[in-house]
Symmetry: C2
């Protein structure tokens, strides 16, 4: 028995998210089916965590157990011949037998893309949050520093989540801009449900003046979701990397 580790990239537009759902096609389901077609086995594909409908991935991690003789380093090629073009396995290898993609994840990076050009791009319709207004990015970058470090991020979690602890540590929030396509990179030891999207939505509201940069620390301390900003749309979000 081998424990095969995959790194996967996908365009989330046509899926109901990573996780198998009763209604709608999930990425987990499509990959699981491709594995089963190759091996005849019923496998459990464990991801590093869910991504929502419309969210993309550059480097999602997942693992599964198989008795098949396919060489571990060839799994990515074998799977790509059976996967749709909007899901690609980037690499594959044999992991330790006790390796678990979710439990052993030590941290993650997410990317959020926002397009601020005066006209939207026909090539980024499902791939970036289009914001046809002027935002004050200097103030947004300043506001972002308030999120760095260890905090209870209850105010930045979708209501209804059940979780052991709401304390997380963010180690990086960085900004780049090329041709009005802004990319905000978040790195941390973990993120609550919708946390990146609510932080982005809050920074966005800082950018046009509805939330003040100096109020961010109080909003974090207040632990009240209603004080934070909007949940930025799913289609701007990319799971970039998972750290082990």
């Amino acid at each position: 028995m081998k424990n095969i580790q995959l790194i996967i990239s996908y365009r989330g537009t046509n899926y109901c998210g990573w996780q198998v759902q009763p209604n709608g096609l999930s990425i987990q389901e499509v990959i699981t089916k491709a594995i089963s077609e190759l091996t005849g086995e019923a496998v459990n594909l464990t991801g590093s965590g869910r991504t929502d409908a419309g969210v993309h991935a550059l480097g999602q991690h997942a693992n599964f157990f198989t008795a098949a003789t396919i060489p571990p380093e060839q799994w990515y090629r074998a799977l790509n011949t059976r996967l749709p073009a909007d899901i690609r396995v980037i690499s594959s290898r044999a992991g330790k037998l006790d390796f678990h993609s979710r439990y052993h994840a030590k941290g993650k990076s997410y990317l959020y893309k926002m397009l601020t050009s005066s006209v939207a791009s026909p090539f980024l319709a499902d791939l970036a949050f289009y914001v046809p207004r002027t935002l004050d990015w200097a103030v947004m970058e300043e506001a972002a520093t308030s999120f760095l470090g260890e905090h209870d991020f209850t105010a930045f979690m979708a209501s209804g989540s059940s979780i052991k602890t709401t304390v997380r540590t963010i180690t990086e929030i960085s900004f780049t801009n090329k041709d009005n396509l802004w990319e905000i990179t978040f790195t941390g030891n973990g993120f609550l449900y919708n946390m990146v999207r609510i932080i982005v939505g809050t920074l966005y509201e800082v950018g046009y003046g509805r939330i003040k940069s100096q109020d961010i620390k109080a909003i974090i301390k207040g632990k009240d979701r209603s004080m934070a900003g909007i949940t930025a749309p799913a289609h701007g979000l990319y799971l970039k990397e998972v750290f082990y």
Copy 2:
């Protein structure tokens, strides 16, 4: 009566091309309908030239006549509210009454995108020609210089085209590469039907050794389509700019 000039960008994936066709939805048709909805007029939208099914545009030009009172510089906004997200009008203005997008075009630029990474990208499936083999780009760049200048490009035209002259002048063929995404830019006074795609297909065959760089000049002189390379797929091609 005003002559409105538009610059248009589109993702060609979901269309049968620029030109109205009996079967399939064309970009020209979609924009014409949006104009008619705004004005109640039946308009003729003249493009700088056709683009094939699946071909994209960064800066297609088109013009139409209208008696509507919409300010010329506001046309792009008005149209974008009625167009699908994969077609965007970038700018609009009033042109001279005798301006014609096709007759007056003095030259064009095209971009061709080729992805040579070991795994395809789920984000570029319809947006670049994926080539999972090693190409000799230095030799391809050398071969490209043979196309520069004025030539009879009969060997690089889809058969069945009827056209007054097959002589065209190419002033630029330049290459860039970022993360295995190659972009080849072509500028010239005009391009025959499928000419850019056949030149790219020929360079591609030079890149893996099926056609020799030093044979390009003879292939041009031979005026025989069958001596040139394949027609590279439509989805790698972008109409970049039209010059007047």
